[in-house]
């Protein structure tokens, strides 16, 4: 047979030399690099501007003072107030409030703490403020205006004034009851005898 060598094996063929894929021009690489450089040069300009402006800046003590004044001039419902001395008001409106309503207990409920501290005879039971009264020993219920010990309203009251009651049973004695929604699944609330559910996603 032609093509075969004397030993019977076919002639060796040249090894395959696959070609590399053709290089496609990255038309956007130059543009991307240019954009990055321009961005950096822009940032350099901004920093140089900031360096120039820093010369006229006030030291940190000034904004610290402003912050401290702001904080101490504003009441905060989450902060316990335990003070043995009458605080000197740092805001004009507090001084004016105290001066004008010194003997008017019904107005004082919404006013400054320092005034309340002066009106020792402030009577919780006559206070008709809808907001939690700062002068009262216990926060008032926004809905029923009574102090927490007497409040038996349904769960529309403020946070810690009245314990929310199960709408199903209304008489749930447990202070830990968080039942709120009638569950179609019929799950039982651990503190109530009526069916209610607080974890069913589909309850309304």
């Amino acid at each position: 047979m032609t093509g075969l060598k004397g030993n019977g094996s076919p002639p060796s063929l040249p090894l395959p030399r696959p070609k590399s894929p053709p290089e496609y021009a990255d038309l956007y690489r130059k543009r991307r690099e240019m954009a990055k450089v321009q961005m950096l040069e822009r940032e350099i300009g901004f920093l140089e501007e900031e360096l120039k402006s820093i010369a006229g800046l006030q030291p940190a003590s000034r904004p610290c003072k402003e912050l401290a004044e702001f904080v101490t001039c504003n009441a905060d419902p989450l902060i316990p107030v335990r003070t043995k001395k009458i605080r000197r008001s740092c805001c004009l409106w507090k001084w004016l409030c105290g001066a004008s309503c010194f003997n008017v207990s019904s107005i004082c409920c919404c006013c400054c703490q320092s005034h309340l501290e002066r009106t020792r005879s402030h009577d919780c039971t006559t206070c008709s403020c809808s907001n939690p009264c700062k002068g009262c020993p216990t926060p008032k219920c926004n809905h029923c205006f009574c102090c927490s010990s007497r409040c038996s309203n349904k769960p529309t009251c403020s946070w810690t004034c009245c314990i929310p009651k199960c709408p199903s049973c209304l008489t749930c004695p447990s202070t830990r009851c968080v039942c709120n929604v009638k569950c179609l699944e019929g799950n039982m609330c651990s503190c109530c005898t009526k069916s209610c559910c607080n974890s069913c996603l589909f309850c309304y």
Partner: protein
């Protein structure tokens, strides 16, 4: 030299110049830091806030999500909360009664953020779908029994990490995204009014993780990013940030304006919270604690009390520190109280009147914390 090689050389030189200028700026700023807030407060004789064992209590636990809670927001006036969870739902709660008023199944379950509109009629959410979806709570359900999407805000090229409605504007909101931009949207048209940052504008160089709009001047907002910086923006000028704030050494996960509108707080993967002044750019205070062998827990979320005296910070290890902002001391750890969460605190927020704090957690629940003590007066 080829054009490309020349550009690379310019890039290297510019980076070197930029880093040199940043160092110079840092040194000059250090000279102006004559005190911090705690130093000033101590010099004025301030004493730390003290909490008794029952002063701040967990007074509600909102249960209903079946996945990690990622985000929450209060209505500005009434006591309703919207929460977003890995279970693919938004739930709207009456926080006083703990009742759920809406349970919204989302088109994309991978939600990361939610927000209430100023009037409380709509909620917005966004996540890995790169879309901010708007739901009108008064719309009737569709034939599948779900609340329909009333508007989809599309255009981001990365996930939506944070969103907030512009105060007192039902039709505008700002989103923050993994595509390194923030966007101001017109909800009525669904179009982008402005894009802050991005490929061809000066802005963040990493994912933007959080946004906070100034309650005193709604044209100003701050954004925080994985590039470790916070940027202050004016919505009228999208081409560049008003100021860039450096200091953090890790991703800045959360940013919130201080109640006076002239400062803002941040929380970061470097384990610290910081307070910055927007007018001078100064870092006024760092809130950090020494940590042991378990490493530094990251700060996931922060909120200020209504007076600014308290800074609430949620951490990845389940702690929720209450910082006295004036004296930079931890005055309480909600994570160690009775009925606290069993997992990471992922989000938190204060009610509109400042009387309650809501925390959301990977344990699938939300909790409301309020003052449960007595306010004693002079005797």
């Amino acid at each position: 030299m080829s054009v490309l090689a020349e550009l690379k050389e310019r890039h290297t030189a510019a980076t070197e110049t930029l880093n040199g200028l940043k160092d110079k700026l840092k040194q000059k700023r250090l000279l102006l830091l004559d005190t911090d807030v705690a130093g000033y407060a101590r010099s004025q004789g301030k004493t730390p806030v003290t909490f008794g064992p029952t002063d701040l209590v967990c007074c509600r636990t909102l249960q209903g999500h079946t996945g990690k809670v990622y985000s929450l927001d209060w209505t500005p006036e009434k006591n309703r909360i919207v929460s977003a969870s890995q279970d693919g739902r938004l739930i709207v709660w009456n926080a006083l009664t703990s009742q759920k008023t809406h349970a919204i199944k989302l088109p994309c379950a991978w939600v990361m953020t939610c927000a209430f509109s100023p009037g409380g009629q709509s909620v917005a959410c966004g996540g890995l779908d790169s879309v901010c979806s708007i739901f009108n709570l008064n719309s009737p359900n569709n034939k599948d029994g779900n609340l329909p999407v009333s508007r989809m805000l599309t255009g981001h090229k990365g996930y939506v990490s944070s969103c907030q409605y512009v105060p007192d504007e039902e039709t505008h909101l700002i989103t923050a995204s993994g595509d390194q931009t923030c966007v101001l949207w017109d909800i009525t048209t669904g179009l982008r009014t402005s894009v802050f940052g991005g490929e061809f504008q000066s802005g963040h160089t990493g994912d933007v993780l959080s946004v906070s709009i100034n309650g005193s001047n709604s044209r100003m907002f701050v954004s925080s990013s994985c590039d470790t910086t916070v940027r202050l923006w004016d919505t009228r000028v999208a081409s560049r940030a008003v100021r860039t704030f450096h200091g953090h050494e890790g991703d800045v996960n959360t940013v919130r304006f201080f109640p006076d509108g002239n400062r803002f707080g941040t929380g970061s993967d470097d384990g610290t919270c910081r307070l910055f002044d927007i007018r001078t750019g100064h870092q006024l205070q760092e809130y950090s604690r020494p940590y042991g062998e378990n490493g530094v827990p990251h700060v996931t979320s922060i909120a200020f009390s209504i007076s600014g005296r308290l800074l609430f910070a949620g951490y990845t290890n389940g702690d929720c520190y209450v910082w006295d902002t004036l004296l930079a001391k931890v005055v309480l750890n909600l994570g160690s109280l009775q009925n606290s969460h069993d997992g990471r605190i992922s989000c938190l927020g204060l009610s509109g009147d400042g009387s309650a704090l809501c925390t959301g957690s990977w344990d699938t629940s939300l909790k409301i914390w309020a003052f449960g003590g007595h306010r004693t007066t002079v005797t």
